[in-house]
């Protein structure tokens, strides 16, 4: 085992040095600018969709009689504009302790409640993630005005701004965090997988593979290559994260502290991001090494690249189903399917505070990394080095 690790280390050190000290690494460091730009555009579209799906509601604590004219006024307004454009209202019967009820409602996840409106015979109080003059405030004033117009002039509206984030807006923000996290993971992996394939081809065309295969086990070669690229990419991520944090610090008032916190907290999320990136990279990287090892020329790699990229996009799309619904059937399936698991679980980390699913997922993904690596090394020996006796699968079965 020590010799195996030492051999893998020799390969990894060579590859890491060759990668990081090359001029191409500068371009690698600049590469995220392009996907980030694309991610910004597509993320904006996605965020809008997410906003619509997860649109928070205003809880109206009022008797049925008091709520009826308000609901009618909202309905009129929605007809005049569009239902999506108007704040959603959900009626709750007043409880014995209104303060406790308000606190409970603001903590509700299903549905996510942005603010609580207490309505009682012409007396209105609004509390939650609202500010005087913002869209919710203005819409509610209009609705209440219309509701009371038949009986009297517009009633006074008292607004109380509560500084803490309400779960309603937090859910939305965390969905965005999950989406951005997944997107970064996806683009980073797709970038690195291509580099990994090219390196293996370079090695094969240099014939150095013969020298290496004579000295170290093929498994060690695979592991070494994977870890070299992983180390190079972690270095890249460190540079990118530092640059990103500095940028946010400069352009956003309050700096990085103002970013919406993921469900597991920032330190936990960053730690899981690194772990899931490593797992995602090793899972896809091991699969690509296996496929790439079968190619003998750059042209063959290019031919293979297109279906591989399509496959990655499909997996990314599958993993995206987790956002906003990590406990749905699709979400769980995406978390269980090895190739989409890291992306799905990162999204979960942004939205759900539990840690134990991550420990299980990391162990599960690790198992698959080992399995794919073993298979890859075996295929490489069989198909590239043409090693070992010819054994048919039906013969293997009969032996077993």
């Amino acid at each position: 085992m020590i010799r195996f690790l030492r051999s893998a280390m020799v390969i990894a050190r060579r590859d890491f040095t060759a990668t990081v000290l090359s001029k191409a690494f500068i371009f690698f460091l600049l590469a995220p600018l392009f996907p980030l730009l694309m991610g910004g555009v597509f993320g904006g579209i996605g965020a809008r969709v997410a906003t619509q799906a997860q649109r928070p509601v205003v809880a109206v604590v009022a008797s049925r009689e008091d709520f009826a004219p308000i609901a009618a006024a909202r309905s009129n307004l929605a007809q005049a504009t569009s239902d999506d454009a108007v704040v959603r209202l959900v009626n709750y019967q007043p409880g014995p302790d209104l303060a406790v009820q308000q606190k409970r409602l603001l903590a509700s996840r299903n549905p996510p409640i942005q603010a609580v409106l207490r309505a009682s015979t012409g007396d209105f109080q609004l509390a939650g993630d609202v500010h005087k003059g913002d869209a919710t405030d203005r819409q509610l004033r209009l609705i209440l005005h219309n509701a009371g117009a038949a009986e009297s002039a517009a009633p006074p509206l008292e607004v109380e701004s509560i500084k803490t984030s309400s779960p309603g807006s937090l859910v939305k923000d965390r969905a965005i965090t999950a989406q951005i996290g997944q997107m970064l993971l996806f683009f980073l992996t797709i970038l690195l997988s291509g580099m990994l394939l090219s390196q293996l081809i370079e090695e094969k065309s240099n014939k150095i593979i013969e020298v290496i295969a004579a000295a170290v086990p093929i498994d060690a070669l695979f592991v070494g290559k994977l870890f070299a690229m992983l180390a190079a990419s972690v270095l890249g991520i460190f540079v990118w994260l530092s640059a990103g944090a500095l940028l946010i610090q400069f352009i956003k008032q309050g700096g990085v502290q103002t970013l919406p916190p993921p469900a597991v907290g920032w330190p936990g999320f960053l730690l899981l991001s690194v772990v899931y990136f490593a797992m995602n990279y090793m899972l896809l990287g091991a699969a690509f090494l296996t496929i790439g090892a079968q190619a003998s020329t750059v042209r063959e790699v290019q031919t293979m690249s297109m279906p591989i990229t399509f496959g990655q996009v499909l997996i990314f799309g599958f993993a995206s189903t987790v956002i906003g619904a990590p406990d749905s059937a699709e979400g769980i399936a995406a978390a269980v399917f090895p190739l989409s698991s890291p992306m799905a679980m990162l999204a979960r980390a942004a939205e759900q505070p539990d840690w134990w699913p991550h420990l299980v997922a990391i162990a599960w993904q690790g198992l698959w990394v080992a399995l794919i690596l073993r298979t890859g090394a075996h295929m490489f020996r069989k198909t590239v080095l043409k090693s070992g006796p010819r054994t048919r699968w039906w013969k293997r079965r009969s032996v077993a």
Partner: protein, 319 residues
């Protein structure tokens, strides 16, 4: 049932032993039951025409590929890769990282075989100086000539001071000067007790260097033994020049004797030179020139490899 490599290979007397090695590629038998035994500290030549199966046999011996059947034992180990730190290998198709510096390439090859990088760099500098490549130590491989790059790879093969060196067609692509240098390097390593196996289809190198050879043809070992033993398979050649064109002396030379210019050329008859000489003199040949030539390894190789190839082709036809 397959005969297994004997445990005696673990002893220092035998460095490499192979028994009935077979390798098939998509139904084609590239190596067909190769058995050989390489004494420790010897220079062992693997001779054969192109496509005979030499490279495949070597790749199996050092563990790059596993045989379809058969067994091998290298430096006392059944799994050749377990002895990797004590083995140096120069493949037929040379390969180095073009952007790597010469000393780093050598040190990297040593590191693959368990030599610490720092020590590898130190030894690389010394070896490059010794081979008059000191000025190129910190130059990338891509800036070296083909001969220089081959020397660098060869130095990478021996950097970790292996007990066994396997060289696949090491002289290919080298000019005469570098070939002579390589021969000297092989002799020096052998003097230091290192076992050397090399393959070649240029017999002159094997004749100058080897104590033992295996001749491979069509995937089979046609001959395995000492160089003198290979030569002795052929009878000496007689070159005879006579004043008389005909006479009783003609009965002393074989019927298949051929003319080469003014000389008769034929194999030395069973009885040896003395009865031949007597018959020629008594028969009035009027001997002008008489030379008895010992056959070279090349003649033996052509005879042995040619026979085996012919036999194998005969088998193919009969199937």
């Amino acid at each position: 049932m397959l005969r297994q490599v004997s445990q005696s290979a673990a002893s220092s007397a035998i460095a490499v032993e192979a028994v009935d090695l077979v390798k098939e590629f998509d139904g084609t038998r590239a190596v067909d039951g190769v058995s050989l035994s390489v004494p420790a500290g010897s220079i062992y030549g693997l001779l054969g025409p192109n496509g005979a199966g030499k490279t495949t046999a070597l790749r199996m011996l050092i563990g790059i590929i596993d045989p379809s059947s058969g067994s091998r034992r290298v430096l006392g180990r059944d799994r050749p890769l377990e002895a990797a730190t004590e083995v140096g290998y120069l493949p037929e198709e040379r390969g180095l990282y073009p952007s790597m510096h010469a000393r780093d390439a050598i040190a990297f090859m040593g590191a693959l075989r368990g030599l610490p990088l720092q020590e590898g760099r130190r030894r690389a500098d010394a070896l490059l100086d010794e081979h008059k490549l000191g000025d190129w130590a910190r130059k990338p491989i891509r800036s070296l000539s083909k001969g220089m790059a081959q020397t660098v790879q060869l130095l990478g093969t021996i950097i970790h001071k292996p007990r066994l060196i396997v060289l696949d067609e090491p002289f290919a692509g080298l000019d005469a000067i570098n070939q002579a240098r390589l021969e000297e390097l092989i002799r020096r390593e052998a003097r230091a007790g290192v076992t050397i196996i090399f393959s070649t289809h240029v017999i002159a190198h094997a004749e100058r260097l080897c104590e033992q050879v295996a001749i491979i043809a069509k995937g089979k070992v046609a001959f395995d033994g000492g160089v003198d033993e290979a030569r002795s398979r052929l009878r000496p050649i007689v070159r005879l020049g006579t004043r008389a064109s005909d006479g009783p002396w003609r009965s002393a030379i074989p019927a298949n004797a051929r003319r080469d210019g003014s000389e008769w050329v034929f194999e030395l008859p069973e009885g040896g030179p003395e009865p031949l000489l007597k018959a020629l003199i008594d028969g009035g040949a009027g001997i002008e020139t008489l030379a008895i030539e010992r056959p070279g390894l090349h003649d033996a190789f052509v005879a042995i490899a040619g026979d085996a190839a012919a036999a194998a082709m005969g088998q193919d036809k009969s199937q």
